[in-house]
């Protein structure tokens, strides 16, 4: 028996939902889409292995490069922190940006379009679930990396550090929401684009070195890539007194992250609106392998 009794006598009346009912339905959609990712934390041990093992391998390779170059030990910490943030970036690229394309292949996308909820709720659920899932992986990479390579952190403002981390996550996953629509429109190119968003972004985002080292390009990245801004701010907060300076003061970078968060979420909403129109007009967004 349905929870929402209706006394509507016409289809138009039935389609007129109260604000409360709309909010509750969308909240349920968010929880429903986040659920499999959170439950997957424990149910997919192979994911656990690969999502910790692969970033750890990459972190290890770069740590050994710094050791071979006899770099100051704080650079090892930079790489470990960068490796942990890589886990979030990979989650955004593969489990946000590429997700709608896969949902289309599996036949779920048409269900999303026809269900009585906003697609933003699905994306928000994906983001929340992905954030929880990936946080466990990132913490494991930081824990194991710090333990194995003896990283020493010097944190004076832990709450600010946590705050900057969450400020980074909003535009990062907002960007994932935007890319989800764009990847779907670009179709089969999506796989190549996802590949393109890995090493080049690690390079441009300063994942393995201080962003200041590529200063002319870093200025552009500070305007468009939340990973670069967030990582630069978090390094300043986690390694206080380090020789390697950040690009901008932490406060300024926090403001940039706030602005990016608003911009990416708004752009994601616009892109979804366009996508929905396209789906209704052309009907090809529900065709597989296109």
């Amino acid at each position: 028996m349905t929870r929402y009794r209706t006394i509507a006598t016409t289809p138009r009346e039935a389609a007129e939902w109260s604000t409360g009912r709309l909010i509750r339905t969308n909240l349920r959609a968010i929880v429903g889409r986040a659920y499999p990712r959170i439950v997957g934390l424990a149910r997919e041990p192979s994911w656990l292995f690969f999502e910790i093992f692969l970033p750890f391998l990459a972190v290890s390779a770069f740590v050994f490069v710094y050791r071979a170059l006899e770099a100051p030990e704080e650079f090892v910490g930079f790489v470990v922190l960068g490796g942990a943030m890589t886990a979030f970036w990979l989650n955004v690229v593969w489990m946000m940006a590429a997700q709608f394309y896969w949902e289309k292949d599996q036949g779920n996308l048409e269900l999303y379009f026809t269900a009585p909820m906003h697609l933003m709720s699905i994306l928000a659920g994906m983001a929340i679930g992905g954030l929880v899932l990936t946080s466990s992986r990132a913490l494991a990479v930081i824990g194991i990396g710090s333990l194995v390579y003896g990283v020493t952190y010097h944190v004076e403002e832990p709450f600010v550090l946590v705050g900057v981390f969450f400020l980074t996550m909003v535009p990062l996953y907002g960007m994932g929401m935007l890319l989800a629509s764009l990847f779907l429109m670009w179709g089969r190119e999506g796989f190549h684009l996802a590949q393109l968003l890995q090493e080049p972004i690690y390079f441009l985002g300063g994942v393995n070195f201080p962003l200041r080292a590529i200063a002319p390009v870093a200025g552009v990245m500070m305007a468009i890539l939340p990973l670069a801004v967030g990582l630069d701010a978090m390094r300043q907060l986690a390694f206080v007194g380090s020789e390697a300076q950040g690009m901008l003061p932490v406060g300024t970078e926090a403001l940039i992250l706030v602005a990016m968060g608003v911009a990416f979420l708004a752009a994601a909403r616009l892109a979804l609106g366009y996508l929905e129109k396209l789906a209704r007009r052309e009907g090809r967004l529900t065709l597989r392998w296109q």
């Binding site: 050994f64 050791r67 393109l196 070195f209």
Partner: protein, 287 residues
């Protein structure tokens, strides 16, 4: 009455035809379904960015001193594209044909062998990885002052033997991934990542913990990279490995390849037999 001509088995001509057809198919899948500009960008940006990360790390720490180490980094980073290209190419070809295009069962029942088909199907990715090697080296020479002094008498045999070893490892991986139900797509990256760590691709092996040294010295990829550096740069890696005589490096490469090649082929044959028996050739994991 049995028509023996119809069951004569696979001839070289069959294998060659299968190989040739698979090359065309592999190239079509790799390139034709993509915008050419994006395909070019994607193919080139990844290896250049990977090398760029190492170059910036080097510059930040050394301020450009120790150019020999930079050359070591560039050559190792460039050549690693082949290892990853071969492994990912072979594994993804077999998995795509099973999971996505669902063609592998038809290839297996045709009067040819899966082996030449698989080699041909993955060749496009392997060739693209060689283009990435050349491009990275060109960028290294033109913009970063990498001083190439090729010794073809050493480089050509080292490349032939080394690439054979890498293909053998890829064939083993392809057969292995056919057995897996989950996450098979991630295995090439995991194995290539592990080999990257122990093969001295971007740092000398002596930096690794001592317990990893035997694994590093047993891997043909270690000796291939070392031999290729000597063939391209005229000198070996920094550290103890670089002090090993050229002849001995080539012998180590030859011996490790001679061990890996038959083992990989035997393992692949066993994996395919097992896949037939267990019904894994038309399995779709949805992963």
């Amino acid at each position: 009455m049995i028509d023996r001509a119809a069951v004569r088995g696979v001839t070289l001509a069959d294998a060659w035809r299968s190989f040739r057809t698979a090359i065309g198919l592999g190239w079509a899948v790799e390139s034709n379904w993509s915008d050419p500009f994006l395909f070019f960008l994607y193919t080139m940006a990844k290896p250049l960015a990977a090398a760029g990360i190492l170059v910036v790390m080097f510059q930040v720490i050394t301020q450009g001193r120790n150019p020999e180490f930079l050359q070591f980094l560039i050559v190792g980073s460039a050549l690693w594209n082949v290892v990853f290209g071969v492994m990912a190419g072979l594994v993804q070809s077999i998995l795509e044909d099973r999971e996505r295009y669902r063609m592998i069962k038809y290839v297996v029942v045709t009067p040819t062998s899966l082996f030449p088909f698989l080699l041909g199907r993955s060749l496009a990715r392997v060739l693209v990885s060689f283009v990435a090697v050349v491009l990275t080296l060109v960028v290294g020479v033109v913009f970063l002052g990498v001083d190439l002094r090729p010794n073809l008498l050493y480089l050509v045999p080292a490349t032939l033997i080394g690439v054979t070893a890498v293909i053998a490892l890829g064939i083993f991986m392809a057969g292995w991934c056919l057995q897996l139900r989950q996450e098979a797509w991630s295995y090439p990256e995991a194995i290539a990542g592990a080999l990257y760590l122990v093969s001295g691709a971007i740092f000398p092996i002596d930096v690794l913990p001592a317990w990893l040294h035997p694994i590093a010295y047993a891997s043909p990829t270690t000796w291939w990279l070392e031999a290729s550096r000597r063939g391209l740069l005229g000198h070996g890696s920094p550290g103890p490995t670089g002090a090993i005589p050229d002849g001995l490096v080539m012998i180590f490469l030859l011996v490790s390849t001679a061990v890996v090649l038959p083992l990989s082929l035997a393992a692949f044959a066993w994996f395919i037999r097992r896949a037939r028996r267990a019904g894994l050739l038309d399995m779709v994991t949805g992963s």
